[in-house]
Subunit: 238 residues, 2 copies
């Protein structure tokens, strides 16, 4: 038996408060740019403690619904942004989630000096020798994602001893080299001749590219350019 059913009066949870405030924003009782009452007044009005309002407001703030400033109070965000959370799983998990058989092929691997774009992605002052890996992820034997990865040997010397021909660098890194900071970007490219050949599709096809760089502290770990196959879509989790 819940407390609500015992006392006959439901205790309002912070989610209830959050939803009530959200409703008021949605119903335009509080309009974009409007200042909201102070937490204490809302608490009194809705019959709960200030800490409960605080919790609710935190959440609305994180969600981009309101903006809070010390002393300045709370206001409805005047320039609404579309905020979304993306979860990008390991490719193997993604393929398996689609009910397909996962496959992995290392295409090339070796030590090379970082070309300018890679050094730029890492924000390196000078080029550096890194591990360069090209690999293909397969779903039911068909090419799924082509990845072009650079791994800093200065930050991850251990990876030199890992057999990356059977297991992807992604999996090894994700389990052994947690990161601190990440940079993600998405854009579209026309398949080059080399890409088309490796992904077995016509040259010029529009492909979604996911670029990701990770650091631990200031030390670069890895930067990957993942070229997806036609039809690939990135979806938000909400």
């Amino acid at each position: 038996m819940t407390q609500a059913s015992k006392t006959g009066k439901a205790r309002r949870s912070w989610q209830d408060i959050r939803d009530e405030i959200h409703r008021r924003v949605l119903s335009r009782r509080y309009k974009p740019g409007d200042k909201l009452p102070r937490d204490e007044d809302i608490a009194e009005e809705l019959g709960c403690a200030r800490s409960t309002v605080q919790r609710a407001m935190q959440d609305l703030n994180d969600a981009g619904i309101v903006e809070r400033k010390r002393k300045g109070g709370t206001q409805v965000r005047p320039d609404p942004v579309t905020r979304a959370t993306l979860d990008i799983p390991i490719t193997r998990v993604e393929v398996e989630a689609r009910g397909a058989r996962y496959g992995y092929q290392m295409l090339a691997s070796g030590r090379e000096t970082t070309p300018a774009p890679v050094a730029a992605a890492f924000g390196l002052a000078a080029p550096e020798e890194m591990l360069h890996i090209e690999a293909l992820h397969l779903a039911d034997e068909a090419p799924f994602i082509l990845e072009d990865r650079w791994v800093s040997l200065a930050t991850c010397p251990e990876i030199a001893n890992v057999d990356l021909s059977v297991k992807s660098a992604n999996e090894w890194l994700v389990m052994h080299k947690p990161y601190d900071r990440m940079d993600l970007r998405f854009y579209a490219v026309n398949a080059s001749g080399a890409m088309a050949a490796r992904l077995k599709l016509r040259e010029g096809a529009a492909l979604l590219v996911i670029e990701r760089s990770t650091w631990i502290g200031d030390a670069p770990i890895t930067t990957v350019r993942s070229v997806t196959t036609p039809g690939y879509q990135l979806l938000t989790g909400s």
Copy 2:
């Protein structure tokens, strides 16, 4: 003068606790899949209240670093995901942030019955008459984003009276029709003849497309397909 400087001993904030736990995950003292001590023990070890650990853990949970279950305890996420938050601003704001002059052109507007793909995006059982708008966002007079939008007249009858030839439907909607639920997807397309003509580029160019549908409750508000121009990149905020 802060309390820390007065007492000589800093009070540890929940962020300190969070960072300490995070460090332990990063340093692999707690490895993926490992079970963490109970909040109370961590609190005692680090010299703070359980509520502080709770707050820290909440944050790590939201960030996808750990997973918590009642009674089950806390464990380091065994299948690390790359979690990122995307903020997509109004196009006008985005253009202005780049230091360019924003321009807007309505290309076409009228009432039409939703074709199958649009009905599907909304999860509609039956096609419906909606407002269909094609418009172009410009940055310094050059095409920037081409949008193809459907607005539910059932949910937003007021929009019929808005002059959408000078101000984008996006701006009006964002200020007057807050949403509840959103669906976002990103993919790449080759520019069709029509797209190429409107965006003034060659047919077949790879373009990043952002598709967004919004609802209030179960009622559909709008669905937009925004076709960006070459070179456009979506970046994460973190």
